[in-house]
Point group: C2
Chain length 315, copies 2
């Protein structure tokens, strides 16, 4: 998958509640949604509308919905549930799963069938369509859409601290990997394993990176593992070849595969739970019927802001 | 560790809200707590006061409390947080973490220092006292006690369905094992791994066992893994030698180690998240200061009933 990002990435000033000032390109959640809906925005969304919370999609037949909610409850790190369809079949109103926030506040003026830049379609557990721009014809009255928090949400905070993820600085998609780390099963969702996103950091910065991302509990929170040993611990075969997103780049923009061995003591991979996990769980459960997901990295951008989901007083 | 249980285990009639009828031996949460407090009840608690919810203890210095809460939030299956000290240092009033239930309803007339039949004491991450009857002298004004759900809570429901766990039927403690399955880290709690409890079941009964325990989300819920392959998947070295509790017994009461190979196709191990996990997480984090836990299998029995934590309409 080639890098597709074209929008300019800027280092944002310190995160505050002064709204417009922290978003130099005037993008909002709604502006990105409307652009995706009309088919004019088709890119990955890392760095899009900074401080607006982003989310992953999984839409499944209603008979699997309660098992899926339980899967999220038992595995909140890879599957932090933000919202779901207000009713079975509904694609334009949300029911919030975030305490103290309404579905309307998460996103008003929403169309779950079109507001993601790109989609994936599964039939009976098999991928049948990839990277399509909308799923209007595939969505049925029996679908329940779920929005899962996305790690792009804490990238602004990392950038604020001078820890801009390399993929963000260079306009590529974050690398994402299948792992052998099992989810806690829930009903039909058995044998599922974590998908993780990865960002490279200097070893000495890992504790700061943990501290900064820790409060983002609704969007995967702190890393699940880090260091070169974690690659085999997670069952990742080749870190230069992610299953989703783009190949990892170093801070200077060159490919990770080009890294001199001498740097491996200094720079280490850091892994977070990833919202592609539910899509993999659905694939692994070979659900019958039509399942809709976003294309990895191509998120819906919500009206919700970072500070709506991070408790006051967090770093 | 030799079996210590002496109280009679009876198969209870179908779980209903008619209170006394379902507890033929007239034990209540409070009667067990008072007996433990006075030092007259010192046994493991599997089968004690059926339908009264049981809980694990971990009491830690206050500076680690917020990281511990986050550990529970990120790992709700092994660490389902039911309640904590109402204030730092408090051992006789609880703050509830169960929606719709007050601390007073979880347990009134409570003494976290004495109401568990047996305790463990750690200093700077090292076990210094084992199986002691109370921890009055070790508890300080700086301790925060946490109560974690216990899988004994769904054993009544299994018994109701004719699926009495063999250890319960034969009056022994449930076998518990350390595993290599990592928890999601949280602050100081890094490199921690699951502890699991195990019950043997016929392969054909596993889906029913999953269904029955699924609603008990506050007390570990459905199993995390099952089948003979799961033993190596979980990194358990010898299933006949649990690290905590008693050696596993077969339905006929003989040791698992005596099982004929011909039975292995029919009878399989089923593993649940276990509330000893937080105690192991504390040990693995080598927290500084004094940490107090219950002795595995020796739970506090609460005023809360099974139906207070299982949603209406569950199987």
């Amino acid at each position: 998958m080639a890098p597709t990002a074209i929008h300019k990435v800027t280092l944002e000033p310190k995160l505050t509640k002064t709204s417009k000032a922290d978003n130099t390109n005037d993008e909002t959640g709604q502006s990105i949604r409307l652009a995706a809906r009309s088919g004019t925005f088709t890119n990955q969304t890392s760095g899009a509308a900074p401080t607006y919370v982003q989310a992953n999609l999984i839409a499944i037949p209603a008979r699997y919905a309660s098992d899926f909610r339980l899967l999220c409850k038992r595995n909140p790190v890879p599957c932090p549930l933000l919202a779901e369809s207000s009713d079975v079949g509904n694609w334009n109103a949300l029911k919030s799963q975030v305490p103290g926030v309404t579905g309307e506040q998460i996103a008003s003026n929403v169309d779950l069938r079109k507001d993601f830049p790109r989609y994936m379609v599964y039939e009976d557990g098999k991928l049948v369509k990839s990277q399509c721009l909308q799923v209007e014809t595939e969505w049925t009255e029996d679908h329940v859409g779920f929005l899962i928090g996305c790690s792009f949400s804490f990238e602004s905070a990392l950038a604020d601290a001078g820890l801009t993820p390399a993929h963000m600085a260079h306009g590529t998609n974050v690398p994402m990997y299948r792992t052998s780390l099992p989810l806690c099963p829930a009903g039909v969702f058995k044998n599922a394993t974590y998908v993780v996103s990865m960002r490279l950091y200097r070893k000495e910065d890992v504790e700061r990176v943990r501290d900064i991302t820790r409060p983002y509990v609704a969007t995967h929170g702190e890393p699940i593992d880090w260091g070169w040993d974690s690659v085999s611990r997670l069952g990742i075969e080749d870190i230069t070849k992610p299953e989703f997103g783009d190949s990892p780049v170093l801070p200077n923009g060159s490919a990770l595969s080009q890294m001199a061995d001498s740097m491996a003591g200094d720079i280490v991979p850091v892994f977070w739970g990833c919202g592609v996990t539910p899509q993999e769980a659905v694939r692994q459960a070979t659900l019958q019927g039509t399942v809709l997901g976003h294309a990895p990295g191509h998120m819906i951008v919500l009206d919700l802001r970072d500070w709506d989901i991070v408790p006051e007083g967090s770093p």
